[in-house]
Symmetry: C2
Subunit: 199 residues, 2 copies
DNA sequence: ACCTGAACACCGTTCAAGT
DNA sequence: ACCTGAACACCGTTCAAGT
């Protein structure tokens, strides 16, 4: 078999991988389709076969980001323990991921995203659903509202903590302290007690 | 006096004003120095006299953003009331501003910013200092650590709530509920009671 | 001090053409 | 189905020159 022009069908994956590296090192504005094509050894028009435009590549990165995020949260849940222990671990995993992938997170939570319909919104919904596992089964169906509100409050707090760290407004150590303080306040609040099984 | 080439010294202000409008309507990537110059009726090289490059303009917008943010928070504090009432108002003002100026907030909390030295970091510090007024005078100097931590936790929670709303992951109404739930949890927590005067 | 206008290198996007 | 390569319109940045 003759060596084909260059890429055999994995160009899409190669571009996404390269793009992630650029995101980490230089931010979104450093990401150029032409440069990506150059690094992949294809012509500048080639990416067009896989991504209709630059935004489509950014969207694909965001969707992939949500899925990786979900994996990390799921992994943090695997060890079991009490509800409090699980949430503390998930909280740290949330902040860790968000700080490590700060630019990717900006993409994932960009206002321009197709939320909540579309693939990115669906990926975001999957992430959110894994938080249900952290809470355990609902004891009383009447607590469903409290559970929803608790999840939102939890996500908001972790999200904000990550933003402050990524923006270097607070140090990593201060961020850890915020997570601990947040979990203590949330778990001990009336909402926390209504949402989570007491045992 | 003859009409001077065009602008008489306010080009900088004009550019910033135009840029803010672009930010609201089309986001950062829609912001072009050449387009700004065109709208201002000057040549494409003119902005160079006021901003060394595109990033310098973005930085100026971020700094200005922090100052406006501080004004809004200060205004929310003006009406007095109990600590709980003040914090509830500040919380809403925080989220409102962040949602209204979502793109600007991204600029303000971008990782690339010169934090904490430099003009933007200084403007951010001024914002944070206004939160001291919300807490009132420290009762016991030993509570200084609790006050710092409470401020961080408060800021993180509001910041995260704003992000979720701006990203359309939650509705405006859900966001309001998160703010209320957050304030109840924070004010009632051990940290909240240590940081805030009980009366 | 502030602005002009040419010049340069770099983009994203489109599209006919190749395999 | 996937990639090439020319073409187009648009950028940011630099810099000598004008006032």
């Amino acid at each position: 078999m003759s060596t084909r022009p260059f890429h055999h069908g994995n160009l899409r994956a190669v571009l996404l991988e390269e793009a992630e590296a650029v995101l980490r090192t230089g931010g979104v504005e450093a990401l150029s389709l032409r440069e990506l094509a150059r690094q992949a050894g294809v012509s500048h028009g080639a990416p067009r076969s896989h991504f209709i435009d630059r935004q489509a590549l950014l969207d694909a990165l965001a969707e992939q980001g949500f899925d990786r995020f979900t994996e990390r949260i799921t992994a943090a849940l695997a060890d079991g323990g009490t509800v409090a222990e699980r949430f503390r671990r998930v909280g740290r995993a949330y902040v860790d991921f968000a700080v490590e992938h700060a630019v990717l997170m900006d993409l994932m939570f960009a206002a321009k995203v197709d939320a909540p319909a579309g693939p990115i919104g669906a990926a975001a919904a999957r992430l959110f659903r894994t938080l249900d596992s952290a809470m355990g089964d609902p004891v009383d169906p009447a607590d469903e509202d409290a559970r929803e509100r608790f999840k939102l409050l939890f996500a908001a707090t972790m999200q904000g903590t990550a933003t402050l760290i990524a923006a270097r407004r607070i140090s990593r150590a201060q961020g850890e302290a915020v997570v601990d303080d947040a979990m203590e306040a949330l778990l001990g609040s009336p909402l926390g007690r209504a949402a989570l099984p007491s045992r």
